[in-house]
């Protein structure tokens, strides 16, 4: 294996698929040759101008990129201290979230490898919908693994996937959420690896996925960097994004990593509160361990048994996180904090009522933590916030939660 290409000032992974000590390939031997094949296909694609041209065309004409960078004036006023907040509008991507950026890229890789079937895991259903969408677009067979609990709270996305012609496979094992959906997807891949490409949806799991997903999501930060320079003539003081596995956050952060003056804030799900133990804040409250093929921060007990996570947001409800975030945490290049279910709901309402934008519950965590983040920044700070997805999918769940509350 050769060292991975360095892109846009982003560091790692090294020749062993590591970001610092994190990452690696802790997977059954059966899929090791497929990981090597995938890495080779990705390197080949990176060196092939026709791949870039095709990806660019799809991102522009199908996904709808570039997405706007919106100056959120009323939100900025509400936050005070003269801050200027810009929203990177991934919620305006086709299918309603950033997940499509990676799904399109990996579908092209799948075609390069000559495979005709794709599988995916999904939590909130956004990655599942993105995969179902590209599968339809390219005529690939698609099966999406989804925990039964998530199928209930994200029923709309289940319906969308099925309407797109994808088979949604319910996962009843364990916590019946994203962690177990990943287990089942990996087991499917172990069994069908010769004919199937696994479109992993987040910047976690075994090498080369964290690297590959970062590269496909880095379009978020590349655009945002260019757009904020154009609008303000300078780089932002901070970039903020929610972190479950960490794909939208690493996509926003990566192009700013070399800009040392840009502070990076990842917001994890504190669920019912860190002190309750019912949360999904792996970087804040976990410790290094191996889950889903890589060494990274994991919520676990003393024996290394992985603990159940909790978050109101199905997309953040995961006891692990990507290895690059683990490394950025340890080096201090990025700061990670956690936002409770209640703060996220407040964030959803705040963005809706100040900007007319209803974010996904995942993205609402980034908004919910803004007040705390801004308090630690200089007066008049310039802040880019990743709005990773739109909130439509969450309306039934949120309506149920807020039904009995008086309107504010």
């Amino acid at each position: 294996m050769r060292p991975a290409e360095r892109v846009e000032g982003a560091e790692g992974p090294d020749a062993h698929g590591r970001f610092g000590p994190y990452g690696g390939q802790y997977v059954p031997e059966t899929v090791m040759p497929a990981l090597a094949e995938l890495e080779a296909a990705f390197r080949g694609a990176l060196a092939d101008p026709s791949f870039h041209a095709e990806l660019e065309r799809l991102l522009r004409d199908y996904v709808g990129r570039p997405t706007p960078l919106w100056h959120a004036e009323r939100l900025s006023q509400r936050l005070g201290r003269g801050v200027r907040v810009y929203l990177k509008r991934e919620d305006l991507c086709h299918t309603g979230a950033h997940k499509i950026n990676n799904a399109v890229g990996q579908a092209l890789l799948c075609l390069r490898m000559g495979k005709k079937r794709v599988i995916a895991e999904t939590g909130a259903g956004q990655h599942g919908v993105a995969c179902a969408t590209v599968a339809a677009l390219f005529g690939l067979r698609c099966r999406v693994y989804m925990g039964e609990e998530d199928m209930e709270r994200q029923a709309l996305n289940v319906f969308r996937m099925r309407l797109l012609g994808t088979e949604v496979a319910p996962v009843s094992a364990g916590t019946r959420t994203l962690k177990d959906a990943l287990n089942e997807a990996i087991r499917d891949w172990v069994t069908n690896v010769e004919t199937t490409h696994y479109i992993l949806g987040t910047a976690a799991g075994m090498h080369p996925y964290p690297w590959l997903v970062r590269e496909f999501q880095a379009v978020i930060g590349r655009e945002a960097r260019r757009q904020v320079l154009q609008a303000e003539g300078r780089l932002p003081d901070a970039a903020v994004a929610c972190v479950g596995g960490g794909s939208n956050a690493i996509g926003l952060f990566a192009p700013f990593l070399a800009d040392r003056g840009v502070r990076l804030f990842g917001v994890e799900a504190a669920g019912r509160g860190l002190e309750t133990g019912e949360h999904a804040a792996s970087l804040t409250a976990g410790r290094p361990g191996v889950l889903h093929g890589s060494l990274s921060y994991v919520l676990q007990d003393e024996d290394g048994q992985v603990l159940n996570a909790h978050s109101i947001s199905a997309g953040l409800d995961y006891p692990g996180v990507g290895p690059e975030h683990s490394h950025l945490r340890d080096t201090g290049r990025a700061t990670y904090l956690a936002c409770t279910d209640a703060e996220a709901l407040e964030g959803m309402r705040l963005l809706g009522q100040t900007e007319g934008i209803i974010p996904a519950l995942e993205s609402a965590h980034a908004v919910g933590a803004l007040e705390r983040i801004v308090a630690g920044l200089p007066e008049g700070a310039l802040v880019v916030v990743g709005v990773s997805g739109r909130g439509d999918k969450d309306m039934p769940q949120v309506a149920k939660l807020l039904m009995n509350e008086p309107a504010p």
Binding site: H16, P21, G24, Q25, Y26, V27, P28, E29, T30, V31, M32, P33, A34, A173, G174, K179, N183, I186, R187, V190, T191, N192, V193, E194, R287, P288, G289, V290, L291, H292, G293, L295, V298, Q300, E302, D303, G304, Q305, V306
Partner: protein, 294 residues
């Protein structure tokens, strides 16, 4: 982080307090001896703590007495991504019953006092990592384990744990699959000890239709690159399949078939009934393997 796997620092394996003197590993020697006398090795599997530790020790002892050449002891893990539904359910039963690693190792020590055959622990990487590879190996060796099988530890990540095993006189068994390239098989052959675990199918543990189709080709490719015993496992759910697999290899590992049969006895089955069934299954497997046509 704790001491970790030491994956990038081979030689960092030593920890005080393991075996009194790190003797040559017994697992590989014992299986090689089975081959030398013209027999086929039979390695049944028990999930520790399923449904409780005392019963799983009793089942393992019954297997040894019924003619097992070694026993594979599964250590429950919350996210066993190489396992099919049968072993997953067994692990969940054990964890639900309050299994803890320290008590599991105590059960290994109890078993060690009762049986002479080699014991291989099958566990995933994370429980080892959380103890630290050197400490885990020292504890396992002290309990009387002879080797480790770690299904999510491919060759590339195995150097540190391999050194820790060697320091404690244990074997680190590596796996090959039908998808392994010749180059990878050669690498595994250089690094493995004890035996090489030849995965019968492209897939997870458990039964399916076409279990043995790809075994001969895989075994031939491995055989050309190592003198270590080759054991076939995954999906061997009949005497007939065991005999066919053993015909091309040096022995078989039988897990899901036995685990499922024990589970089918129901939660109310006594330890005696479980041990008796395990004993019967090992005896019929033993008889089948010993009677195979020359």
């Amino acid at each position: 982080m704790n001491e970790g796997l030491g994956a990038r620092s081979p030689g960092a394996g030593g920890a005080p307090g393991g075996r009194p003197e790190a003797a040559a590993p017994r697992l590989g020697a014992s299986l090689a001896a089975v081959r030398a006398r013209g027999a086929k090795a039979l390695v049944p599997y028990v999930m520790l703590g399923d449904p409780d530790l005392e019963t799983s020790v009793r089942v393992a002892r019954a297997m040894a007495e019924a003619g097992a050449d070694a026993i594979e002891l599964g250590m429950p893990f919350s996210d066993p991504l190489a396992d099919g539904p049968v072993i997953q359910a067994a692990g969940q039963r054990a964890l639900g019953g309050g299994y803890r690693l320290a008590r599991g190792l105590q059960a290994v020590a109890d078993l060690r006092r009762q049986v002479a055959c080699p014991l291989a622990l099958m566990t995933y990487v994370n429980p080892i990592l959380q103890r630290g590879a050197a400490s885990f190996c020292a504890e396992a060796a002290r309990a009387g384990a002879d080797g480790l099988v770690v299904p999510d530890l491919p060759l590339e990540e195995s150097a540190g744990l391999g050194a820790s095993c060697r320091a404690q006189g244990m074997d680190l068994v590596l796996l090959v699959a039908p998808t392994s390239t010749d180059e990878r098989i050669a690498g595994v052959a250089r690094a493995a000890s004890g035996f090489i675990y030849c995965v019968s199918v492209v897939g997870v543990t458990g039964a399916r239709e076409d279990t043995l189709v790809r075994v001969p080709a895989t075994v031939v490719r491995v055989r050309a690159r190592t003198a270590l015993p080759l054991l076939v496992g995954f999906g061997i759910n009949s005497v007939e399949k065991a005999v066919r697999a053993a015909a091309v290899a040096d022995g078989v590992i039988v897990a899901s078939w036995i685990v499922q049969a024990l589970a089918d006895l129901g939660a109310g089955a006594t330890p005696e009934a479980r041990a008796a069934l395990a004993s019967r299954m090992v005896r019929v497997l033993r008889a089948g393997l010993d009677a195979r046509p020359a």
